[in-house]
Symmetry: C2
Subunit: 262 residues, 2 copies
DNA sequence: GAGTGGTCTAGACCACTGT
DNA sequence: CAGTGGTCTAGACCACTCC
């Protein structure tokens, strides 16, 4: 036996897909909907919460519930790592031309407005293990927010870590006013003599913290994708670790794996 | 001002991390907790729902709420595609040796119990577009469930599509009793003369349908990762499409991107 | 000020588990 | 049978938006 709020959610979903309600249109008030479906307001709200998590409606406090137009997702492909590498080592003028302005999200710089914050910190257990350095090693911690071109809310929250001693030879890397850096992280690493061999990305999904939900403008019930990107240099050393939090309902990660020929 | 149930959730989280409650231990009854935290039962339940979504507690109907031991995640790496390819073309005896028994989840066959179901269907708009075939083209639709070695609930739900005309030359590919197929999908494709050039995987997160939640044994508030795997042959043609649904709290996808040297 | 959704309360009744 | 969590109800009160 299905739960009552699920049955109501199903009926509403049906009504939305059948197009009896147009995108942008306001739904009846929750009290009216509850009466209409023969239930109480809290149960009706449970049903609406389900549609909210699925992205079918938007809730606006003090205004009403609205049919949402289907959200298009922003793609974020691993091909950007090679592209960024290709552009990380050229002459200055070359670097700033089209296609060379990729960043961790796979968007071009024109798509993102930056807010960067640099801070020194000490590697804790987890991070120290990934970098293979002793706990307490000084690291540079850089926080970014990126915004998609049309979006209001940030599209991703990024925390990037470099071992301080590795970045220090180039003082510009320690200076947050130099952001956004045109050639991306790989160019930054190039300036201290580091070439990347490969990038390893680990992806999971989890519910957002309340801060993340607020910053990313997530509706209730929407999860985030958490991506840990580990960049490994040609010497086999882990040179950068970046934790990226992406809205589960707006982001799509694309990974292409080329295969050797027989 | 934080919401009351969030403050209570925070306090409980604190208590759990501080280890004042051991994994496996039962929490006080919800009525008792509500009294203890000076709130009503529904609000206390909201707080507990948050911890549930985070995987910190387990709820057992009619029994109680329990501190959960930290769940380890099952990794699922894109390196398996190359490994599977390496083993897809050898002599028969070779194929069945260790390491050659990978499947779409990155687990070995010994880790999974199969339930496969084959069915013919017609490509709808979405699928037809990916395969670049006319809508209505006959496809073979194969559904799998995989189980991790220790798990009770399925670890992944897989729906794989092949264009019927492509698989037909080998009648065994149309026969679900031949599953599990030792060499994996790439060996199946090899038997009809297809070599893969690359695999493209698109990852998103979304709330589960109620059926998925039931089948995967998901707690409330846990999202799934949805992965669409597109296998492209050496002729540039899309030869297989697989939709994989993974529990967001138990799965970790790992993608390694090798980079060309300067 | 009227109307809307957001949070919280109090409690009924049901379903499940273990004794 | 006693005790637990699961669902649903009814309604108070607050915060927000718009007229």
């Amino acid at each position: 036996m299905a739960k009552k709020y699920e049955r109501i959610a199903g009926a509403l979903r049906q009504a939305l897909r059948a197009g009896r309600l147009e995108p942008g249109e306001r739904l009846p008030a929750e009290t009216a909907l509850a009466r209409q479906y023969g239930t109480s307001v809290p149960t009706m709200r449970d049903a609406l919460a389900e549609l909210l998590a699925e992205g079918l409606i938007d809730k606006r406090h003090g205004v009403g519930n609205f049919v949402r137009e289907p959200r298009r997702r922003v793609e974020c492909s691993n091909a950007r790592h090679q592209r960024e590498k290709d552009c990380a080592r050229p002459v200055e003028t070359e670097r700033q031309r089209a296609g060379s302005r990729e960043r961790d999200t796979g968007l071009t710089v024109s798509d993102v407005a930056f807010s960067a914050e640099y801070r020194e910190a000490e590697a804790e257990g987890d991070l120290a293990a990934v970098f293979s350095v002793p706990v307490g090693t000084k690291v540079l911690r850089r926080s970014y927010r990126t915004f998609a071109r049309d979006g209001e809310a940030p599209f991703s929250l990024i925390t990037s870590y470099l071992v301080h001693g590795v970045a220090a030879p180039n003082p510009d890397l320690l200076d947050e006013t130099k952001e956004p850096w045109p050639g991306g992280t790989q160019n930054q690493l190039f300036t201290v003599g580091i070439e990347l061999d490969r990038v390893v990305e680990r992806v999971t999904a989890r519910p957002p913290t309340s801060e993340e939900a607020e910053e990313l403008g997530l509706r209730k019930g929407v999860s985030v994708m958490q991506l840990r990107k580990i960049s490994i240099g040609t010497t086999g050393r882990t040179v950068e670790v970046a934790d990226v939090v992406l809205p589960g309902d707006r982001a799509e990660l694309v990974f292409t794996t080329p295969l050797d020929r027989w």
